[in-house]
Symmetry: C2
């Protein structure tokens, strides 16, 4: 029989009129004598699972499996900030102070703790991403500021430039002397990068480029590190070259240029550069986003990042790539590393939010059966329904990002085009998840800033927008899928990630099997074969029907109009594909787990992830009779039941994320529940 | 043929190197010569609607219908704050300053603008709620601070006290001399009010009550106005009366007491009262929430709010109500006014968020057909899918709150029990809606604090928690429904709001009609009869199946366990009921609208509201064959198409909310799109 373990709060009930010192002593004693726990014979919802024991999860085993090979650098980060309380971000801080603090945090990490992120970017991307996750867990602003410096500014110099740029800038970027910006977005153009209007005109007389902002709409906007700290910016602009006709210029498309914006010694803004502050943001106020306007700023010809296109002394253009579009795609393709970093950091935030919300939900008691003690709010089906699928997604995303980073590292070595597409798809799908549910699940105490949901959500919120609005990225994923679908019919191959489509498109496009549509046993529903089949079926069906609809509408609306007409359908297709890849990965990750109990726990979590998603689009499955009515009901029932089962090991599952209290920080999210309320009342001043 | 009107931005394109004064003049000139608009022959998605003209909405007519009878007081509020820029909340402000500013705003409104909210509370609740909506639109912290003073502290004195209390406190509450708090929630108990531990013991020797906080868990927590400004608090505590046996006390249940907490003249905290600051919150930082601990604080016997239970000089208890539970229910029932106010304010926030997000989406252009101008992002199906259902819900909620306030006013006059239940249900269902979609829909510029989504969301976010966690309130609604369902079988009557259940339960419980399940014509799907039938069918089905499941599980799990086992089901039932009531109201509101074009516009919006909700639970409808597969597809298609149609009049629909620019405030949400970007660049300093 399964049982619910609830800490016996009476043991820790603060004594009235206790002096602060006495209280502190009592609290300290809890470290030595952890509160005794009693087995509360809470038999809610148990009839259906009386035959199954609660999985005895060994948190250490599970945690070891999750941690990966770069835990050391993460611990180094955690330890450094734990040893420097002066660098801890306070609950309330004004924007300007926050930016300075964030800069001090970054400098401390690099110059004092001796972490050299730019080396990792080059030598071992997976180590860099692990670092980024840890840094983001400490403060998301710091994570983003670091990402701007090393992934965006540093990454553009490394990946779009050539040896001369690396030789000149590597050391300064690494040691933070050359703090830099990534100036792509303009006031009027974010997603549509090809629509940017900033120009870089080559002047053959002086061998320079002239960088110009032609109108207000072309002001570079939201540029991280620009408002206060940046010395340089990688500026994306249309390269204009003189033609034989002296009065005209030829537009060579978007290129990247290194533009110094502040004096290296005096830090004064350089002539011709105008910098304003984008001001207070919804979150991430430790990052100094600014707006840049260029009034005919001259830079040496060498400052063109010339890997994919170069200009000679005489103004002649050369490129290893044949067309503007190919060069543009290659340029943007090199920037996917930033997005991989965001996906990684995003999962880090999810882990913290899940940890705090679930620990508090185990601690908090409210209502109970008549004349019996109150029960923990995580014992309520509604609370399980809010938090357990979220926990399952966190696990699913964790394994997906681990996989993503592996793919990315391979891609950096092999430059395989299929891998590029795979990395793009996964990174697009992983960087967004709403955290509101966690705040809501924690009621009033979740609204106290000290308990962190506000800053976690506000900082995290922009993830679905920056480095590519998700709506736009998902369209690119859908576009890739359709391209591959069309190539299949011309005999081409699917990229690795969507090989399931190659293998089984025909199977999936035939009528669903009326026999299996009625199978509703738990063994069947928890069989990875069924789950994968359902996910793949949905993706294949959406892909095939999208192709048919697009062909039909293109005749009357043109290709742009047809695409827009099917846009919601295409976004669903992209999400469905990404979910399929995530599930495949999760299933593989379970197989590779060496510890049997950890494996069983992960299987439970994975089943919840899969069945919850199937249920959330049950209308589609029902509509094609992929599942019969009773099977749909059985899926719903099992998803609820799995939430209950996962709840029974929820404490262990969040403990396995291995986030020390000094990183999670929220008083209501303490690992040892006996301390939570006491820490909270102390924080308030009692 | 329908057409999309897009402002011709070229006209307003700022000129490079323009001097600030020149720019200002040019912008001012736009007021006199509004930018010419061109009819962009955007024929996306139009084939299916080529026969229908865009509705020619007269914003004034629609606005007049929406405004209601208390627009004057709302305009008074808007004008007052427009005339006092010094009282405007800045983008960035520290908690302590914000609290003082918020207090000055409230004092200005009452003592300078001459608005007397407490009079309205008594004489005309609908005027009070209209005021609250307007005040919340200016600043939600101010709305909440005002609500604490007049709905909660003032409301408890009026509704739980008797004439002596009104005589003594009315004037001071109204003119803000007696600023007060509502001290119900404790650290360990929010939703479970009956579990609070604070005690009020009668001392017959001195004719006083002794208010005591017995342990840390009983500290009053989250108390608005407590940290800084409050002089009094209505404290909820268990009333303890001496028994004949001198050593024991009798617990009479939760009662409310007026406890002075600060000196009226010196503002010093009174002896025995300990006040701490709950600190920085996720939002609403203009409100000073504090924590209160009472160390045997003595108050006169007269300070018991004695409407539902009184203590005589000799300690004898009398009450017009027979049991503790009845008294508790009556006490809580009187507090529903606060929740009605929240529902009203919540809709006010939705209107602002929808206005800003939709205006920006009309202004913002990104991508377009090859070699053609970019199109506005609201022309994308995905953006319509995000924002149009949200706009439809805002309209639906608007009419529902108007209805709610009418019911509430009736209830205050008649004290009809059925009305109490109706008001409770609607107020519970209306006070929560996620605003995240608006921020996301506005991408990066939605992340600038100046554009307000951050504060709107962070302030609004707690609405689903305070004055009753929605999960708990919805359970009460489900409980009421079940009670009425059982009474029906004993021949009782349903309350007015759920009369549809009385009338047609039997119809709804029979098998769906296999003929109508196949009807899929637009006329049928847009017929209010079909829509209402679908909503009612779903509610009836959920109600009946919940009753059956509860009965079954009660046998093995007991009533508490059975309830928890069915909790998600019960929450869905409550939501379904509330949605049904909202739809009924929306349909009635359309019928009453005198202007034909406004009516047509509202009908479109209502159809979107209804079909979008049907589609979002299509699995349930399909599972019982209430709709056939093709009908399900037709509903999906029509919902998408209605989003497109509503988009065509979206500008007029938000203009009809009639929120002046100085209230919406976001630069990207200007009514005149020509100014939006320019105001934004000016804000940043260009």
């Amino acid at each position: 029989m399964s049982s619910v373990t609830i800490p016996n709060n009476k043991v820790n009930e603060p004594v009235d009129h206790e002096q602060p010192t006495t209280r502190r002593l009592r609290l300290l004693s809890l470290h030595l004598n952890p509160p005794t726990t009693t087995h509360n014979n809470n038999n809610l919802q148990l009839e259906a699972c009386s035959s199954r024991a609660k999985i005895d999860v060994d948190t250490n085993q599970l945690s070891t499996y999750l941690r990966g090979k770069h835990r050391d650098v993460q611990e180094q980060v955690f330890e450094y900030f734990n040893s420097r309380p002066d660098l801890q971000t306070p609950i309330e801080i004004l924007k300007d102070e926050y930016r300075e603090l964030c800069m001090r945090q970054l400098v401390g990490l690099v110059r004092e703790a001796g972490i050299r992120p730019f080396r990792y970017v080059v030598d071992d991307p997976s180590k860099y991403f692990a670092l980024l996750e840890a840094v983001g867990s400490v403060d998301m602003s710091l994570g983003i500021k670091m990402g701007v410096q090393y992934s965006l500014w540093g990454g553009s110099v490394l990946n779009l430039g050539t040896k001369k740029h690396r030789d000149k800038y590597f050391e300064g970027i690494d040691n933070l002397e050359y703090l830099g910006c990534f100036a792509m977005t303009e006031l009027h153009h974010g997603s549509n990068v090809q629509g940017i209007q900033t120009v870089a005109t080559f002047d053959p007389l002086t061998d320079e480029f002239i960088i110009t902002t032609p109108n207000d709409g072309a002001i570079k906007w939201w540029i991280g590190n620009a408002a206060v700290h940046g010395k340089f910016a990688t500026v994306f602009a249309k390269l204009m070259l003189p033609t034989n006709d002296k009065n005209s210029l030829s537009d060579m498309g978007v290129h990247a240029f290194i533009v110094p914006i502040r004096d290296l010694k005096t830090h004064k803004t350089l002539p011709g550069v105008e910098i304003n502050d984008c001001g207070h943001k919804v979150g991430l106020n430790g990052v100094d986003n600014g707006a840049l306007r260029f009034r005919d700023v001259r830079i040496p010809r060498d400052n063109l990042l010339n890997r994919f296109g170069d200009v000679a002394r005489d103004g002649k253009y050369t490129s290893p790539l044949p067309t503007i579009n190919k060069r543009f795609a290659a340029t943007l393709g090199e920037l996917v590393g930033g997005r991989v970093g965001l996906a990684y950091s995003s999962v880090g935030v999810l882990k913290i939010a899940a940890t705090i919300a679930i620990r508090y939900s185990l601690l908090r008691q409210q209502f109970g059966p008549p004349k019996q003690p109150e029960i923990s709010i995580l014992d309520y089906q509604s609370q399980q329904h809010k938090l357990m699928p979220m926990l399952a997604s966190t696990y699913a995303f964790h394994f997906a990002t681990v996989h993503l980073v592996e793919k990315y590292s391979q891609m950096k070595k092999t430059h395989d085009e299929q891998l590029v597409a795979d990395v793009h798809a996964l990174s697009a799908g992983l960087k967004s998840y709403s955290l509101s549910i966690c705040r809501e699940a924690c009621g009033g105490h979740g609204y106290a800033a000290v308990n962190r949901f506000g800053s976690l959500r506000n900082d995290h919120d922009i993830f679905q927008t920056f480095e590519g609005d998700n709506t736009v990225l998902l369209q690119q994923v859908a576009g890739d899928l359709l391209k591959q679908y069309q190539e299949k019919f011309r005999g081409g191959a699917f990229a690795a990630t969507w090989s399931y489509l190659r293998e089984s498109m025909n199977t999936y496009l035939s009528q669903p099997n009326p026999v299996t549509a009625r199978w509703e046993g738990e063994d069947h529903l928890r069989d990875p074969k069924f789950q994968l089949d359902a996910f793949r079926y949905r993706t294949s069906k959406l892909l095939q029907s999208a192709a048919v609809r697009l062909r039909k509408h293109t005749k009357t609306l043109g290709s742009f109009g047809a695409w827009n007409r099917c846009l919601n359908h295409l976004l669903t297709l992209a999400e469905s594909h990404i979910e399929t890849v995530i599930l495949e990965n999760f299933i593989e990750a379970i197989k590779s787990c060496p510890d049997a109990n950890s494996r069983a726990a992960l299987k439970l979590v994975c089943d919840l992830y899969a069945l919850n998603l199937i249920w959330s689009d049950i209308g589609t499955y029902r509509n094609v009779d992929y599942v019969a009515p009773n099977k749909a009901k059985a899926i719903h029932k099992l998803a609820d039941y799995l939430s209950f089962q996962v709840k029974n090991i929820a404490k262990e599952l969040v403990d396995a994320f291995d986030l020390p209290d000094h990183v999670t920080r929220a008083p209501i999210g303490k690992q040892s529940p006996g301390e939570a309320y006491a820490e909270y009342t102390q924080f308030v001043g009692f």
